[in-house]
């Protein structure tokens, strides 16, 4: 509990810093909103000539895309340092300072630099999800609310854990870019019904980089469709498993750093 209070204070201070850069804040807000809306329009545009895509109706696809956006927006608030970890902390040596403070190294990295405007993506996603659910005639009972909340939280955490695993690779190989960019480019694949992809990509999204669990499987459960709706129940477990893996990778990395450095 005490630790949480410290992290909250750290988080609040860093938030204040971001707000102080007003131009930066507004530019980021604008870019995020534009990005979020354009990917939404892309889905709408796609359905102008066709009625359905691999058996999925427009509103159903919007539900997947909206859920995915909600998770992504939450993740993007802290993703900055994970993407730049190798560059900022290992190569430029900021990790020394992190090790000198009596709190968790991982929490310090997450709190140290984050973006608040990207939450616009979560807000837009929420709007899309609510509209899609309404048009699809899915009720708005407590159960549905809970389901969406858990799904979004699990999705955001899954992103965090996957990119933590990739960031911890930087402890072992000094490289400015790191291995995250190709995986980052996989995120949009999770916004579509997986039936449209060939089997190698489906397998990838299910078992290797499991972004299918962020929005696609939960949507099948919410819509009560197909044979895959049971997979949604696995979503929290997949997140948990990646959390454990991320913690192990991080620890291993920190130990490696402590014994090399320069």
């Amino acid at each position: 509990m005490r630790a949480l209070k410290i992290y909250a204070a750290l988080f609040a201070q860093m938030l204040k810093v971001r707000l102080a850069y007003r131009g930066d804040f507004l530019a980021d807000l604008f870019a995020t909103a534009l990005g979020g809306l354009s990917s939404l329009f892309f889905v709408l545009l796609f359905f102008v000539p066709v009625d359905s895509l691999a058996g999925w109706k427009r509103d159903e696809v919007l539900l997947i895309a909206g859920l995915s956006s909600m998770s992504y927006g939450l993740f993007a608030t802290v993703s900055w340092n994970l993407f730049e970890f190798g560059d900022r902390y290992i190569i430029e040596g900021r990790f020394d300072r992190v090790l000198l403070r009596p709190i968790s190294t991982f929490a310090q990295i997450l709190c140290d630099q984050f973006r608040i405007p990207v939450l616009a993506e979560t807000v837009i996603g929420a709007g899309v999800v609510a509209t899609a659910m309404h048009r699809l005639g899915i009720g708005f009972g407590a159960l549905e609310w809970l389901f969406v909340a858990v799904t979004v939280a699990c999705g955001a955490l899954l992103y965090v854990f996957v990119f933590t695993i990739l960031a911890s690779v930087s402890f072992h190989f000094e490289d400015r870019v790191g291995v995250a960019p190709p995986v980052f480019n996989v995120i949009p694949f999770g916004r579509w019904p997986q039936e449209i992809f060939p089997w190698p990509i489906r397998t990838l999204l299910r078992w290797v980089i499991p972004f299918g669990f962020v929005a696609y499987y939960p949507s099948t459960a919410l819509l009560g469709r197909g044979s895959l709706k049971g997979m949604a129940a696995l979503s929290p477990l997949v997140t948990l498993a990646f959390g454990v893996l991320a913690a192990l990778c991080w620890r291993l990395g920190v130990r490696k750093y402590e014994s090399t450095g320069s």
């Binding site: 410290i6 040596g93 000198l100 009596p102 402590e258 090399t260 450095g261």
Partner: protein, 344 residues
């Protein structure tokens, strides 16, 4: 019981040696050569509570590596550290709560936060009891004259202000041990003095043990009671500052300006206990030990034997002694470097 015990401390780095050219870079993909670098090579010492130690050595001697091991940032490759009864790298969180660290080259503060916000955050991170924290901050504000820049973001501070802020930050949680890696680097004389005065006061008032590295020997003269010299990863000298001073006092130099060129071999025969160096035909330097020949006697015999225009006896400095220690150690370090094999 000593505050810090270090026994046979070692640190090896494996460094990837790149081949030259494009063909070499391609070859590197498949087969890599590593060289093993022993940055710290069997260092032992102990530090008592309340000591002020200057830790010096030429660049690349192993100073920073030692400090990084003492602060728990790096894990030793061999040997043992017991500091405040803890193992720095194994009990990191518990340990760093009780130490303060300042790196002159890099700030520990948050670049974008106002100084006072950084301090408040640190007080929370270190879980300093509220009233004690406020009292300490008030004291540091006064001692380091922090008020003039308390509300300015760290990135806008001058180097001298930043250093004062960093120093205050390292002391906020009342550390028992304070490590400073080149705390005066790049500072002007006034700022250096302020920092030296503060460190001395902190040591006097709170009994904080201080270990600092520096290249400015005036830091050592103003602050250190004890000096450790490291070179080639080994401690080559460890003793009281007075011992260094005595050595410096004993070894003296005379600068001699001549009217006529002197015959050096003859002079050397006349005064075998003195080492002569010839800068140019009209400028000699005589190095001698005051025990072997008193300065007055040397002068009178020089004046008798030579056409002297001027003689100067520069104040002997610890700088000279340390230069000699470095030189002596440099030779043995070169031999050690040759012994290091290339591992694959």
């Amino acid at each position: 019981m000593p505050a810090v015990i270090v026994e046979n401390l070692e640190k090896e780095f494996r460094r990837f040696r790149r081949r030259e050219g494009l063909a070499g870079a391609f070859k590197d993909l498949f087969q890599r050569d590593y060289e093993v670098l022993r940055a710290v090579d069997g260092v032992s010492f102990s530090i008592e509570r309340g000591e002020r130690i200057g830790y010096i050595g030429p660049n690349g001697a192993g100073k920073s590596t030692t400090i990084k091991m003492l602060t728990g940032i790096l894990t030793p490759s061999g040997g043992r550290i017991e500091s405040l009864g803890l193992s720095p790298h194994k009990q990191r969180k518990q340990y760093v709560r009780r130490i303060g660290v300042v790196f002159g080259q890099r700030t520990q503060l948050w670049w974008d936060l106002a100084v006072v916000e950084s301090f408040k955050l640190l007080l929370q991170i270190y879980e300093v009891e509220k009233r004690a924290g406020e009292a300490r901050l008030a004291k540091l504000r006064e001692l380091l004259a922090l008020d003039e820049f308390l509300h300015i973001p760290v990135r806008k501070l001058s180097l001298g202000q930043r250093m004062r802020a960093d120093l205050a930050a390292s002391l906020l949680h009342g550390p028992e041990l304070l490590f400073l890696d080149e705390p005066t680097i790049g500072l002007d004389l006034v700022a250096k003095d302020a920092i030296r005065a503060l460190l001395k006061r902190v040591n006097d008032e709170f009994g904080t043990t201080i270990l600092l590295t520096t290249h400015d020997l005036r830091d050592i003269e103003a602050l250190a009671e004890r000096v450790m010299v490291i070179d080639g990863g080994k401690i080559v000298w460890d003793g009281r500052l007075e011992a260094l001073r005595d050595e410096a006092g004993e070894e003296a130099t005379a600068e001699i300006e001549l009217l006529e060129p002197a015959a050096l071999p003859e002079l050397q025969r006349l005064l075998p206990q003195v080492r002569f160096e010839q800068e140019n035909p009209l400028h000699l330097r005589a190095r001698f030990s005051k025990r072997a020949i008193p300065a007055a006697e040397l002068l009178s015999r020089l004046v008798g034997a030579l056409q002297v225009a001027d003689i100067a006896l520069p104040e002997p400095s610890i700088e000279e002694v340390i230069r000699r220690i470095y030189e002596k150690a440099g030779k043995s370090a070169m031999v050690a470097a040759q012994k290091q094999g290339v591992a694959r």
